[in-house]
């Protein structure tokens, strides 16, 4: 099922009694989710992701704008007729019901010609349980399950009525690190098997990057960028997106463009054809550094962390916005730790420059 959001805006009345100003949680949001894809809605906490999810499933009504599922305008429909499944951050499993009863719960609500017989319900519940591999836990209570198992039950409950769209709110945040990796793959598999258009919300960029077909980066209720994870990583539209994606994070420097060349701390580090003279932020991905004794860019060396496959060079620079510069280089390169300095060349496709005021991307070379 294709989902189209068009000019969606959601305002909340101010919680502060004194100022009458409304809080804008989602502002003029438009995008199209293609059918059968896994979409990661990504942003820092408080950026309106959860509101977005509530708008799609119908728990909240938008202040303006429309929502379409396929060709149906569902904007004014209550959640139950939209045909959505929602997995809550803390799962919201009914603690007094068994796993089976929890999964049956949505089916028992069906009325009229959709009403199912007991056998049909049981069959559907078993199918859903099998899909998420919890068939042997059906008689347990939620309190007797581990976090990962509860998560699966929650997914089964959301899937059992075959929703047109599946929504997941921070699906992995309540799991420990090991389970998180495992569940990530699991989510991917379940989504592939069912082919249901799935939207999940997360503040963890790694999570979003690793399993999404498409990621949507938002900040303060505003859509910043949408695209395939690698495309967004390689081609961020502004400083925020560039900073938000990637571990270790991008290194940001204050710099200046003069005569189509980028200067950082007085050093001429890179050619930026097509950019007129101005002050800029320059973002360099950790993998954008090439170790070179005669390199153009000089930093003071702090530490070298050898991590087997690669080496992480930690250094500092007075014009760097981050406290430390992290650069990842191949382990074959040896760094002379006796020196106080380290010199780099920069890879042009790993360097992004941004307007210092608007923080918008300034393209250079062939991209421009």
């Amino acid at each position: 099922m294709k989902v189209i959001l068009s000019n969606l805006t959601k305002k909340f009345p101010s919680r502060n009694k004194k100022s009458k100003e409304e809080v804008v949680a989602v502002s003029d949001f438009s995008f199209e989710i293609p059918d059968g894809k896994l979409i990661g809605l990504l942003g820092p906490s408080g950026c309106g992701k959860s509101t977005m999810l509530n708008l799609i499933c119908g728990l909240e009504k938008p202040t303006s704008g429309r929502i379409f599922f396929g060709d149906d305008d569902v904007t004014d429909l209550p959640p139950e007729v939209r045909g959505v499944g929602l997995v809550f951050q803390n799962y919201a499993l009914y603690p007094h019901l068994t796993v089976l009863q929890n999964i049956l719960f949505p089916l028992q609500n069906l009325k009229g010609d959709k009403k199912l017989t007991k056998e049909q319900m049981l069959e559907k519940a078993e199918q859903a349980a099998k899909l998420v591999q919890i068939s042997e836990l059906m008689e347990r209570k939620p309190s007797e399950l581990s976090g990962g198992q509860q998560q699966r039950v929650a997914i089964a409950r959301a899937l059992v009525k075959m929703p047109r769209i599946l929504l997941l709110d921070e699906p992995l945040s309540n799991l420990d690190a090991r389970l998180r990796l495992q569940t990530r793959e699991e989510l991917r598999r379940i989504q592939r098997e069912t082919g249901i258009t799935t939207v999940f919300v997360t503040h963890d960029q790694e999570e979003a990057m690793s399993i999404s077909d498409i990621i949507v980066v938002m900040k303060a209720g505003v859509l910043n960028q949408i695209g395939k994870p690698q495309d967004v990583y390689d081609d961020p539209v502004n400083l925020f997106v560039a900073k938000f994606l990637g571990t270790p994070p991008i290194n940001v420097f204050r710099g200046e463009v003069k005569n189509e060349r980028l200067f950082i701390g007085g050093e001429d580090v890179l050619s930026v054809p097509g950019v007129c003279d101005r002050k800029v932020y320059a973002g360099v991905r950790p993998e954008g550094f090439i170790l070179n004794e005669n390199g153009a860019f000089t930093c003071s060396l702090s530490a070298v962390e050898v991590m087997g496959r690669d080496t992480s060079v930690v250094s500092t620079h007075p014009d760097c916005e981050n406290a430390l510069i992290r650069s990842i280089i191949s382990a074959e390169n040896r760094v002379d730790t006796s020196k106080k300095e380290v010199r780099f060349d920069l890879k042009p496709n790993k360097v992004f420059i941004f307007d210092i005021d608007t923080e918008e991307r300034i393209r250079f070379g062939q991209e421009a």
Partner: protein
């Protein structure tokens, strides 16, 4: 270690003394009293040991009347007050405006003197030479006939007693249930809403089970409290409850102990122990049912 033992006991001493003297000793003593036959308060002597006191109490028409009254009171007020409190709490939890004001008002009866406000209820319901009373005028307005609720027929008096009891016990129940309802996470309702669960089903399948521990707590304490009813009755009908045929078991105990018909601690003890065993039985039954019903 010896020193610290001594010190600890010193801290405990006042509590131990008070409790020993006014709780543990009386607890033993009440059993003794209840088996001492023909105890004389003045000379502090008794004639024999046996079950006579229990036999006497169980054959005393005043006691039987008190038992009947107490049971009627319990059977009516516990379900009515719990149900009403649930209804009011549900209403309170569904609104935002004026919620605090309503909560404050509903709690007022808790902090009032039962005896004092009982008097107000009495004059509202009482029929005198001067006036039929507010309630009767209201009944007349709807075409009914005046009834004397305070000195009149049994059912009328019982009605006032139940009404006043419910009025007095509601604040506590509303308070407990409102916070129990508020503690049910909104996520559960959202999850149910997405699945198209009807309001009634949400109530029976989610709300009720989730607040069931608190509900059972209220029912159990409600039973215990209602079985010990006394001052509400005094407030409405005066101290001579036997004459008004409105006595309760606790009232009977006190009357046996003190007052016009007093001076019989043995009978009082027997009656108190009978009451205690009734309450204990019902509490145990309640707990057994709640074990089966409360699932988590």
């Amino acid at each position: 270690m010896k020193n610290s033992n001594f010190k600890a006991w010193l801290y405990l001493l006042p509590a131990v003394l008070f409790l020993g003297f006014f709780m543990v000793y009386p607890l033993v003593d009440v059993f003794v009293y209840s088996f001492e036959e023909g105890y004389n308060s003045a000379s502090q002597t008794f004639m024999g040991v046996g079950l006579y006191n229990y036999k006497y109490v169980l054959h005393d028409p005043y006691f039987l009347q008190a038992v009947k009254n107490t049971f009627i009171l319990v059977i009516i007020t516990v379900p009515v007050s719990t149900g009403l409190a649930l209804l009011i709490s549900l209403g309170l939890n569904s609104i935002k405006k004026l919620k605090e004001l309503y909560q404050t008002i509903y709690f007022l009866p808790y902090v009032t003197n039962t005896l004092a406000v009982g008097l107000v209820f009495m004059i509202l319901f009482k029929k005198t030479a001067y006036t039929d009373g507010m309630v009767n005028l209201l009944i007349n307005l709807f075409g009914g006939k005046s009834v004397d609720f305070i000195d009149g027929p049994y059912w009328a008096k019982m009605f006032v007693l139940c009404f006043y009891t419910v009025w007095v016990v509601l604040p506590f129940k509303i308070l407990i249930l409102t916070s129990a309802l508020a503690s049910v996470k909104q996520d559960y309702y959202n999850a149910a809403k997405i699945d198209g669960t009807s309001k009634w089903r949400m109530f029976t399948r989610i709300t009720l089970p989730m607040i069931s521990p608190m509900l059972f707590y209220l029912i159990i304490t409600g039973f215990i409290g209602a079985f010990k009813a006394y001052s509400d009755a005094v407030a409405l009908f005066g101290t001579n409850l036997n004459a008004a045929r409105m006595n309760t078991i606790v009232g009977y105990v006190y009357d046996m102990l003190y007052g016009d018909s007093g001076g019989f601690p043995s009978y009082a003890s027997a009656a108190a122990l009978i009451l205690f065993s009734i309450v204990l039985t019902i509490t145990v039954v309640n707990l057994m049912i709640s074990k089966k019903q409360v699932h988590y």
